[in-house]
Subunit: 197 residues, 4 copies
DNA sequence: GGCTAAGCGAGACGGTACGTCTAGTCTTGGG
DNA sequence: CCCAAGACTAGACGTACCGTCTCGCTTAGCC
């Protein structure tokens, strides 16, 4: 699943892969440089040395381009840190995520998630291509931790992920508190111990 | 703290409160009718029978107008449901919030929170005028529940709020699962019991 | 020489001649209907079924559009009435000009000449495309009359034209007297006889 | 005849003459500094330390203010140069006028005359307060020259004035040639000798 | 090797909204 | 009733992008 449109397969001149890459790279560079709002399809086209229709032939709007650029950049770097005990992997993953969220990557996520609130297709793409793959991987980690006895056997992994990860996105967006390591550690500890007596 | 600009206090014709109200009410009506994106400063001005400069004199952009309209509507209706046991008040509050989030109010929150990702002032206003007052009230409820023995005495209330409320915003935005009553109940139960063995 | 901007010659979609005509015709129609001041670029765009930027891509402002519309209308109709004796052609030309100046054409000239007082480019266009072609034609007529013995051989044709035509523009603008036939005849006679004894 | 409105004579606080002067002087200063078009009622009010309604109470629009300012400045300096022979006075007057027209005064006249093409009241004021007084004075000079034998006895003074002065305004506006002394001398000579054989 | 269908860069097109400006009027509080 | 200040409605300004279209030109793949 991508946000980009597909071409009818066999007829006429094929779409240029070079152009495709140039667009996505330019999009990413511009978003990093001036922010999502200040970027326009026009500015991408101009800098990439590409006609506007060439972009619109492939994506329905700016957000979709940036989303694809974001996803393209992700695919390689999707390595989850792993430890012997799954619970440690979990903590490590959370820590690396908040660290990433504190930088440019956080800004990009904010913009895409913000934009997704106005565009269902963007929201779908964001969920299916960024959120869900991570949750699936996370689920195996959590289940492993359950087997290893570090998490209770009767918990609902979906709710567990919500409890642990939603606060990270919440702080990214709302800035109600710092995205610090101690925040992650505190959150994980308190979630394990539980709030009840 | 508001998003609107301030007038120099005592000179010239004072700003009309009637006009102020007309703008905010129109803004809210239009957002409800056609969605945030489809509303423009121009359309608000036209329907409110007001010149555009009158709006720009008071707010820097559309988002700020809608934010203020939203906040204006809030102020009266800020009644938290209360029960004898604080833990029940907490559950009730969470339930009423997800219920509200499932309707127009949820759309509005999504739009404002989405927009806030691109505008720090919007983000500040959203946090200080919508999020924080609720968290302050929530904190007293949580502390009461701690006193009443329904929550452990050594928990961090900030983290507790993050664990319980962030997932609600997360599902509102990402649609990773339903904003149902059973979601709230499960979340609260699992948070109380804890994830650890 | 035109007031309109030039397009880079051979690249991209060429500018539509149909659109060009539609704009100029609409401009002329509106000026005739409601007067120069009451016309706006916006109203022209709206009635011509054209986007505002399409107009601004070609002309820098309303006055330039109207000027070009005026000049466009001129080109075909530039027939000077001619008689056997050049002096009669001269009188005929003056008479037909004051007649035209008494109607809508006079209003248009007034508006353009008025506007030209505030915009050097407008003034240049008005002079080079309306005034000068007429003066060049006029000069040949005057020189012919000199050869035919109806005007003295040692006059300065430039000054002669100023003496005969400036009063027409003067009365058009200042309304110090009527733009009547007897005005033209009296002017021409008195200019021939001279003011001196 | 002025362009300014009159106050109902005896009631309430009388209008301040100081304010009146301040407005006119500011108007003139601004027109000289940045040109007629760039001046607005607002800018005059602001610099003169005066409320906009105070201006609108006295004049209907910017042009009227500037016209009055112009006329106010005139009144003192309306001295016509005089020589023993009326024909010399005439030449002198024409020379001093073209000299004045070459400077800031010419720009002001251009602006007022240009503006008058769009506003009949302006046109009336310009004619009645600037043009006509000069023509009346001029007429006596011309009649004196007729008596003194330097101009023919049977000429029409109105047409004579048009022949001599219209070209000056014409060149001011159209720039078809320089407003030089030789221009004036040539014009006057040729008008005296006549164009005919 | 020529044909043909699509892709390509460029840029014009109809629109929409932006945020600013000025016009001319209205409303304060204070002479 | 005047004044300074400044808010008011109204609407044009000129600009920025949107997403589509139309040029003339590649550039494959298929006959």
């Amino acid at each position: 699943m991508t946000v980009s449109k597909v071409a009818k397969p066999r007829q006429g001149r094929p779409r240029s892969a070079k152009v495709h890459r140039a667009i996505l790279e330019t999009a990413l560079r511009q978003v990093a440089a001036v922010g999502f709002r200040a970027v326009s399809v026009e500015s991408i086209a101009a800098e990439a040395g590409v006609g506007k229709p060439t972009i619109y032939r492939r994506w329905p709007n700016k957000a979709a381009v940036v989303m694809d650029a974001f996803l393209m950049k992700l695919e390689p770097g999707t390595v989850f840190p792993t430890k012997e005990r799954a619970i440690d992997s979990l903590r490590l993953q959370m820590l690396s995520q908040v660290k990433a969220f504190r930088g440019d990557f956080g800004s990009l996520i904010k913009a895409l998630l913000g934009e997704a609130q106005f565009d269902p297709e963007m929201a779908d793409a964001f969920r299916e291509r960024w959120i869900m793959p991570r949750r699936r991987k996370l689920r195996t980690v959590i289940e492993e931790a359950m087997r290893q006895g570090d998490l209770r056997k009767d918990i609902d992994p979906e709710l567990a992920m919500d409890m642990l990860y939603a606060p990270i996105y919440y702080r990214l967006q709302i800035r109600s508190g710092p995205l610090s390591e101690s925040f992650v550690n505190g959150l994980l500890e308190q979630a394990r111990k539980g709030l009840g007596p």
